[in-house]
Symmetry: C2
Subunit: 222 residues, 2 copies
Amino acid sequence: MNKRLYLQHQVLQGNEEIARQNRELFRKHSVLVINMIGSPGAGKTTLLEHMISQVKKTAKLGVIEGDVETTIDSERIARYAIPTVQINTHGACHLDARMIADVTPHFSLSDLDVLLIENVGNLVCPTEFDLGEKMRIVVLSTAEGADKVQKYPAVFQQADAIVLSKTDLLPYVPFDLDKFYQELALLNQRILIFPVSALHGEGVKEFVEWLIQKRGDFQWKG
Amino acid sequence: MNKRLYLQHQVLQGNEEIARQNRELFRKHSVLVINMIGSPGAGKTTLLEHMISQVKKTAKLGVIEGDVETTIDSERIARYAIPTVQINTHGACHLDARMIADVTPHFSLSDLDVLLIENVGNLVCPTEFDLGEKMRIVVLSTAEGADKVQKYPAVFQQADAIVLSKTDLLPYVPFDLDKFYQELALLNQRILIFPVSALHGEGVKEFVEWLIQKRGDFQWKG
């Protein structure tokens, strides 16, 4: 193993340990933690806003917004009057377990049902960094193209569900829907795919209903 | 400086030295090297295909394709019968100067005018890694949203030109064109912006003509 790979290995090992501690803490408080991953502009924040609108009556939500710079996203989320913390990575291309551990004290975990984490806009870096989440959702927009499944296999392989966003653009972009489903099936036969137009609200309900059903795995509060 | 930042600093310093050597080699052979950066699905490869079609009659081109996995992009480029090398980073989120130095011997540099490098699809990681290029082009698609300038300032600040791609989607996406121009002007007053629809071929000619004009900086061959 060369020096750089060795250092990367050390970083990942350190991350695993903190992620384990995070997961233990979230489990103790029965908080369902969801890590949302996707490219810049895939539509993660818009989807998050829909999720919040539909879930906040039945469950207590918190949000962690990960961005390289700015508080644009946390300001969008703040309008929903739920606990929100912005992490600015200042150049780092993903969140890591330490960053999550550092902001967790800002939440009253015993009052939360679901903690939604929007990772930094990136299809590569966040893949290897376990944050201590229970679920991973990958958001891919139709504008990005169906070949992204083959080109970035790791992130899709590890996902619990894929949201195919911006389906309203399908008539205008060269997105091969059959190829997309076929490539995903090759990677991960059990994967769930939710086609969504967050702009027009289509498909969001089905996705959120699935999420709500998932809470059966948990001892939810309230 | 903590250990991780120190290691990152060391990696970048090592990269700078190799980038300097690459640049020296490219200068010696009068090869204009262009580093193209953008998110997955921003439209880099399609733009590259247009650039090749329009330039290959007047200049000798080579292409380096950077991808995490697959040879999909280099296969697309291979149809144009120009020297093309695929680099698969297997998890790494950007190209670095060492990777470029390693594949440079596959090209006959004295026979090249322009070497086009398509970086790994990512708006964050490639920013800090100088490859030894002469020019940096950032490709952002209208589907990604105008707020990406504020959210990923470094990559836009360092660019020689921005290609705003998929302008054919403007009627269907909430992209604030005024905000986009204003935010870019705040970051970098001299920056050039080329609105392009690679799908329909609009705006590509203007961009390529500017590139061809840029070759005046070089002692072109042939």
